[in-house]
């Protein structure tokens, strides 16, 4: 049976109340907006990439505890990573939140993000957990184009 604490782990509640990297970035090299029309979550993601590495990343917006915590923890997880590494983390994260309860996941790659493993028991909340990640993907796509034109 799914339990409240499987979803709302302390770490998640903490990040949702005190989101990290929660600020505008005026000199970001790319930004993207994410919107979840189902629950009205929206966020703006700011990313600074140089030499294929995410130098800085921040966000702003409003949303439920899961989407806010996910955005906050994502920024921590991908900062300083190469684009390929960030992509791989997303792949694993996505697999974890859309999988079956009890499915194994790669704790090494996911690190702290493993606290979202309970999300897969709440199908209505998967979109909340993945919104920030999809937004990051969109932002990086824009960034890729910008990089090639430079």
């Amino acid at each position: 049976m799914s339990d409240l604490r499987d979803l709302y782990q302390e770490v998640i509640l903490d990040h949702s109340k005190k989101p990290r990297n929660y600020r505008r970035m005026e000199d970001s090299c790319s930004r993207a907006e994410g919107f979840n029309p189902l629950c009205g979550d929206q966020l703006v993601l700011f990313v600074k990439v140089a030499s294929g590495i995410i130098q800085d990343i921040s966000f702003e917006g409003s949303g439920c505890a899961i989407s806010k915590a996910s955005a906050s923890m994502m920024t921590g997880a991908v900062k300083g990573k190469t684009l390929e590494e960030a992509d791989r983390v997303f792949e694993h994260f996505h697999k974890m939140v859309t999988g079956q309860p009890g499915d194994p996941f790669d704790a090494e790659i996911l690190g702290k993000l493993a606290v979202f493993s309970g999300v897969c028991e709440f199908p209505a909340r998967v979109k909340c957990a993945s919104l920030a990640w999809h937004t990051l993907k969109a932002a990086l796509k824009g960034e890729g184009q910008q990089v090639t034109t430079e």
Binding site: S2, L13, C39, G40, Q42, S62, C64, A65, I66
Partner: protein
């Protein structure tokens, strides 16, 4: 005592019209309500504005139709087809009586409220609207009464004007007369708001519009499950609702239109049943309502909706109204006592809905915690984003009631909200 008497007493609580409304007895008609939804948590269904549950008689009607009467309608010479046609047309008659419409042919079967409004937009709007004409809606419409008119705006160059609402969630009718210009071709407003519960003064709106010769469409999706609606007393030109919110099946709904209005409209879809004769050169259309019922209709759905309405009308409706009013008052009072809760939509006249937000907790999180306590509510924008924009909230949590809800279910809602505070505050 014979078993016969017992059986009929159990299956038809409203069979005795004098029987006062008894919520526990009515709940027995809804087997779905009696279930454990999460371990140790009994279902508390407070999402009735999204869709209502179905009484046993409605499910039986579906089974009986497919088990004994299934055939296509209006087509067969055989006995079975006659029976199916009789049952289908019988449902139309029941709906006509329910709405107190003048004639059966004023009742058009559609998929639901959404399709009914789109049908009027197509059949009436595209036929009669010209660039510069105006359609008036209100600030509290469901998207289904906004988007079809916007599509016409983009296609024909008409203009969409909006009756504003105040911060209680009540329409400001003082402005309506100014909106009703010589170019206003239709007023289309919601009878009861699904996002706020506001009951709009539709009689007055119809009067004001008719005084300027403007026809009126009323979206009754959230009205018909709660109050008796008399389309002739209202003098509505069009009245629309969905069967699934009125204890009937999904996929069936109703467009009521005054006969002369329906006759003036162009058909919506072309095909079988809606024609009188077809050659490759020319088609003559069938009479109303068949002109708008192209193709094989949702026969079983219409019949089961007729059954739902019959079931509903057999209840002590004054008792139902009193029960629901008491529930809404209780819920409003109890929710106000929960720290951090703010009710969105505080109109004087309300029905069936309490929308609220809680300080520091997103509605989506409220919804998840409540669900685990067995309490089903809806969270989000309720397909009424302009309402959310007015109240400057991204979303609300919404508890919505039906006649089978009880005071102890409101206790469960309030107790579950205490749990929300435990987790988040």
């Amino acid at each position: 005592m014979s078993t016969l008497v017992k059986a009929s007493a159990a299956s038809a609580p409203g069979a005795d019209p004098a029987a006062p409304f008894d919520v526990e007895r009515v709940r027995k008609d809804f087997p779905i309500l009696d279930q454990e939804i999460h371990h140790g948590k009994h279902l508390v269904y407070l999402d009735n504005a999204a869709t209502s549950q179905k009484p046993q008689v409605v499910m039986d009607a579906l089974g009986r139709y497919y088990g004994a009467d299934n055939a296509n309608v209006h087509r067969g010479v055989h006995r079975l087809s006659e029976r199916a046609t009789e049952a289908y047309e019988g449902a139309r008659r029941r709906i006509r009586q329910f709405l107190n419409a003048g004639e059966d042919r004023e009742i058009v079967f559609v998929r639901g409220t959404t399709e009914a409004i789109n049908l009027v937009a197509h059949g009436w709007g595209r036929r009669f609207f010209k660039a510069g004409d105006r359609v008036v809606v209100s600030e509290m419409e469901h998207h289904s009464n906004i988007v079809p008119w916007q599509m016409l705006r983009d296609e024909l160059g008409i203009e969409l004007a909006v009756i504003p609402m105040d911060d209680e969630g009540q329409l400001e009718l003082e402005g309506l007369e100014e909106l009703l210009t010589a170019r206003t071709k239709l007023v289309s407003v919601v009878h009861v708001s699904n996002a706020l519960g506001t009951v709009n003064p539709v009689e007055r709106i119809v009067q004001l519009a008719h005084a300027r010769g403007v026809p009126v469409l009323l979206d009754g999706a959230q009205a018909v499950p709660h109050i008796g609606v008399d389309v002739r007393a209202l003098d509505a030109d069009f009245y629309v609702f969905s069967g699934h919110k009125l204890f009937g099946p999904t996929g069936i709904g109703v467009l009521y239109g005054k006969a002369e209005r329906l006759e003036a409209m162009q058909p919506y879809q072309g095909g079988g049943d809606m024609i009188r004769s077809v050659t490759f050169e020319k088609t003559t259309y069938n009479v109303i309502p068949y002109k708008f019922e192209a193709g094989t209709p949702h026969i079983s759905g219409a019949i089961a909706l007729g059954e739902a309405i019959e079931w509903f009308r057999a209840l002590d409706l004054a008792g139902v109204e009193a029960h629901e009013r008491a529930l809404l008052e209780l819920a409003t009072r109890r929710l106000r006592e929960v720290p951090g809760v703010r009710i969105v939509g505080t109109a004087r006249e309300k029905l069936g809905v309490v929308s609220f937000v809680m300080e520091g907790v997103h509605p989506h999180d409220i919804g998840t915690v409540l669900d685990l306590e067995g309490v089903a509510i809806r969270t989000g924008h309720h397909c009424a984003q302009p309402v959310m924009q007015h109240f400057k909230v991204p979303a609300t949590a919404r508890a919505s009631f039906a006649l089978y809800n009880t005071a102890s279910e409101i206790d469960a809602l309030v107790a579950a909200l205490a749990k929300v505070r435990e987790v988040f505050c």
